[in-house]
Symmetry: C2
Subunit: 408 residues, 2 copies
């Protein structure tokens, strides 16, 4: 049911020098499902990351943050599905730590060079025997997995593996950027039940890598929403293996800007792919709020629209019940808007003018526009120069079905 999102072609996905992959079927929740994945980075690699702001932070995220704080010299990410290892107390922390220890011992690296990630049901303990057996299997299967298989191994309610790969030349050296992501529900700004990993062979100073991760997150993963819920496990990690001769050390360097932009492109593809594969989604909706007094105001209004079940169900039904959009705008916590100036466009069709139904409004046209799979909603506040885009889905029977029956 994903909207204009297909499984990528293997020929379009490039290996990253210094990165080795492995996946296995550890049997954590289901039989015969790849559910444990490894991204192994050569010595000399480093990582920058952002994590969930949920206060019920999952055990693996606590360990990952601790290890990354100790040193950015990271060698491995291990990711399991089937259990989020969240709401699992002290035992959860012990299991996440033991996962790192076991992986480190297997691959002859240090335990604090490992970042652990879990996704799946909350309040379920990791089955450590299966995890340990899985880690042994990963060693035997190293370098036998593609990025697409790793993307598949980290899927939960996703229906399509999410992978994006780009190449650019920086200073006559080929730089590869390849990323994967998972997530289709509990997707909301400040991350989601969302895991995203982007790897590159570029050499770059750590503070600049951190800057890219932070800026890119704001422009991509923090501008999407499926259901307004933020998970306990969200993480976005970028690893660079530092294989190019030239090291980017200056943010004024043109290559820094190029690298920033291409990582942004990959992250944006992955963020939009998560929305396109949103649980039960039948429509991909771009909300563009423009001419506001600040980007924050525009984002606040966009979020109110994106999170309104009334609007989302109207989009599902292709019903131009567009007054609900006005009600949502009116609910946004924004002080300086003038309702009587607001124009609203549905795929460039003006339906509300100066805060009221446009005199030219024709329901037949609105009906036709609502039926499209890709919808653009533009709110022109006519009140300033700031603007912000935001991406979301409709709310369908299938969303309820998927989430009502997730654990069964």
């Amino acid at each position: 049911m994903a909207i204009n999102l297909k499984k990528p072609n293997l020929n379009d996905i490039f290996s990253v020098p210094g990165i080795q992959l492995a996946v296995t079927e550890a049997g954590i929740k289901y039989k015969d499902k790849k559910d444990l994945a490894l991204i192994l980075a050569d010595e000399g690699s480093h990582a920058a990351a952002v994590f969930t702001k949920n206060k019920f932070i999952a055990a693996p995220v606590i360990i990952a943050k601790k290890n990354l704080k100790k040193s950015s010299r990271i060698r491995a990410c291990i990711i399991n599905t089937g259990s989020a290892n969240a709401g699992t107390g002290k035992n959860g922390l012990i299991n996440a730590q033991n996962t790192c220890d076991r992986l480190a011992s297997q691959f002859h690296i240090k335990s604090d060079e490992v970042l652990p990630f879990s996704t799946g049901v909350i309040m379920k303990h990791l089955p450590m025997e299966k995890i340990n057996q899985g880690i042994s299997a990963l060693a035997l299967k190293l370098n036998k997995a593609t990025w697409i298989e790793v993307a598949e191994a980290i899927m939960t309610t996703d229906t399509v593996p999410k992978v994006c790969s780009k190449k650019i030349m920086l200073d006559d050296e080929e730089v590869v950027i390849t990323g994967i992501a998972k997530g289709s529900g509990m997707i909301h700004p400040n991350m989601a039940t969302m895991l995203a990993f982007i790897t590159t062979n570029v050499s770059i100073e750590h503070n600049l890598l951190t800057q890219i991760v932070s800026e890119v997150t704001e422009e991509t993963f923090n501008l999407i929403s499926v259901d307004g819920d933020t998970s306990t496990n969200d993480s976005f990690v970028v690893i660079s293996t530092n294989k190019t001769k030239k090291i980017i050390v200056d943010e004024q360097d043109a290559d820094f800007k190029k690298l920033h932009n291409i990582i942004l492109e990959v992250a944006r593809y992955l963020a939009h792919a998560i929305v396109r594969d949103g649980e039960g989604a039948t429509k991909f909706i771009k909300i563009q709020v423009c001419n506001g007094q600040s980007k924050l105001d525009c984002k606040e209004i966009a979020k109110k629209i994106a999170h309104s079940p009334l609007i989302k169900t109207a989009f599902f039904a292709s019903d131009p019940n567009l007054g609900r959009i006005m009600a949502a705008i009116g609910n946004a916590e924004v002080s300086n808007i003038d309702i009587s100036k607001i124009n609203i466009y549905l795929n460039d069709y003006l339906f509300a003018e100066n805060g009221a139904l446009a005199t030219s409004y024709d329901e037949a046209i609105a009906n036709k526009e609502m039926k499209k799979e890709e919808i653009s909603l533009k709110i022109d506040l006519q009140n300033g120069n700031a603007s912000q885009n935001f991406y979301t889905t409709d709310l369908s029977y299938d969303y309820v079905k998927i989430n009502a029956e997730y654990r069964t």
Copy 2:
């Protein structure tokens, strides 16, 4: 499908001295549906009210606020369904004003003594010819309607008319309090597509009536949510006809407290009735957040739980996917909580202890508790002395169906 909510028995609903009622079928949206209602109050009556905080405020609400600001001496409330007269610009204001003028002329009162109310689809103009004919019909039908019929006339997606009536003796005089409400979707703190009218024959100073309305709203209509959306038309009005000999003039008077409490009881019944009749609701959920640092913190946490589609779908499925509750708590914008202290109870059954799955947890018991129609969820923060209750519903296939097909 309403949860433990039945049409009231006419014998339990008392007339209010000084109040006359009328309803008619004006044919605004549907044929053969009562869709225009009048509450006519004797001379000497006064009213206090609270209105929606939505910035896209509907035209009738603008007029009602204006008239009430001019004087609290109100003689009539006229309510139509079928069109909310919101997002209708200047023409909408003219129509709301004309409705008042027409009613005033028909009933020989002043136009600014009329409060107009509309509920239904947004961005649809009032059919003034039908409204005018309806007002003539109301005059012929005055005193022929019961409170139950008025409650029915203001229903939109409601399935049960919501009426509550109480009597008390104050200073040897009988005081009647009878109220009605409508609303089953777009229900959210700071009102909803919610209209509520409570009338009483008590004599009371206007500032004290205003105080009661404000305090009662906070404790009732602002503590319920069906889908997190706040409408453009929400209003809660209390009218006293000042018929008793004794006038309440002092908030230290024991009768003031008695009156306050009985109006609170009526309003609470109506607020809970709205949740029980929530669109597609199959469960009535009481969320009790206790031992927090402030009432505001507790309310913030309760609202995050009440608005999470993931939690609401899990309740619909009777699936104890209780980790989602932890994730919602972790998302609340509350600074001083200690996750490791939180205990959570499902109908008194402890399932999370010190922020993790309780060691005694038994899924079979949780499953059984989740199947109940009335669910109580208690979050013990163990972090202070404040507490707050909040009321909501689950999210079902029928919610999507009702809202996807509302206009058709």
